[in-house]
């Protein structure tokens, strides 16, 4: 049953890609389907739907670390290191 859901999810992901959605929408759809498939694998195959609290605690700590890792790229977008705050366009190019 779970295997069938995972197979179907893969087909839907590829089919959605063939429709040529806008990039942000395509990324959202693909990641939502991947998350649903991943949830099935984790909860059923890896028995996370009914596990001991020690494992949940370890995974909670991991999830926090993972979120920090995923947040790091945001800082690289927002950082201004090496970029002049009031950069001005060169007055002329190839002035020699």
């Amino acid at each position: 049953m779970v295997g069938a859901v995972l197979f179907a999810g893969t087909v839907i992901t590829v089919a959605a890609n063939q429709v040529h959605l806008a990039v942000p929408l395509a990324i959202t759809v693909a990641l939502i389907i991947a998350t649903i498939k991943g949830s099935f694998v984790a909860s059923v195959f890896m028995h996370l739907s009914a596990e001991r609290k020690w494992i949940y605690a370890a995974l909670l700590l991991t999830a926090v670390g993972f979120l920090v890792l995923m947040t790091i790229p945001m800082f690289t977008v927002n950082d201004g290191i090496g970029t002049p705050i009031h950069a001005e366009a060169p007055a002329h190019a190839g002035g020699h």
Binding site: L6, W54, A58, T62
Partner: protein, 194 residues
């Protein structure tokens, strides 16, 4: 000297040492792949343009089916051991091993096709992160196959001596294998489709 809590659960955590150890190992693996996913985001955000359609989607999809199928056979193998059906469990573990091998053969053809066209990791940022992510994932597949081969071969003797411990080992291998499948479930769309 016997190692404690290989079969019976610890009174404090309610877990065997092997199971908790496997989950802690998987937690470290999440951070390893998480760092590479984060790198992928940084590289993609910093790129003026990102190639699309460079990879063979159909081969990637077939490999996704293969890994999902191997996860199903792995969980069925463990379930059969729980029911005391060793021969069937062993056959299902062998099928899992073969499916893992087929995945690697497909990956070989993909790599060979790229390299024949001079598209190695040095060719572009996209291919650099593609080879890094899929190469590391492939190494995990090989690691899983080595463990499965042991459980199919010399490790299978444990079924006679201590069936509960053998079942536990197959369960921990399964946890690792499902994690490898889980990583591919995310790798496939971000590398092949987006």
């Amino acid at each position: 000297m016997n190692i404690p809590y290989t079969v019976e659960e610890r009174p404090d955590s309610g877990l065997t040492n092997g199971k908790f150890g496997t989950w802690l190992f998987l937690a470290s693996e999440v951070m390893l792949f998480g760092a590479l996913f984060s790198t992928y985001i940084i590289l993609r955000q910093g790129s003026v343009e990102w190639p699309h359609g460079e990879l063979n989607i159909w081969l990637g999809m077939i490999n996704t089916f293969i890994l999902i199928g191997s996860s199903v056979t792995m969980v069925l193998s463990w379930a059969n051991l729980k029911m005391g059906n060793f021969s069937r469990a062993r056959m299902l573990l062998l099928i899992t091993f073969i499916l893992a091998g087929v995945f690697l053969v497909n990956k070989y053809f993909e790599y060979a096709d790229h390299l024949r066209r001079g598209e190695g990791p040095w060719h572009s940022t996209f291919l650099a992160i593609y080879f890094t992510l899929t190469g590391l994932h492939g190494l995990h597949i090989i690691g899983g196959m080595v463990v499965m081969l042991y459980l199919l071969g010399p490790g299978a003797k444990m079924w006679v001596r201590n069936p509960a411990q053998y079942t536990g080992r197959v369960e921990y291998t399964g946890l690792y294998w499902h994690f490898v499948d889980l990583v591919w479930i995310f790798l496939f769309p971000i590398l092949y489709l987006l």
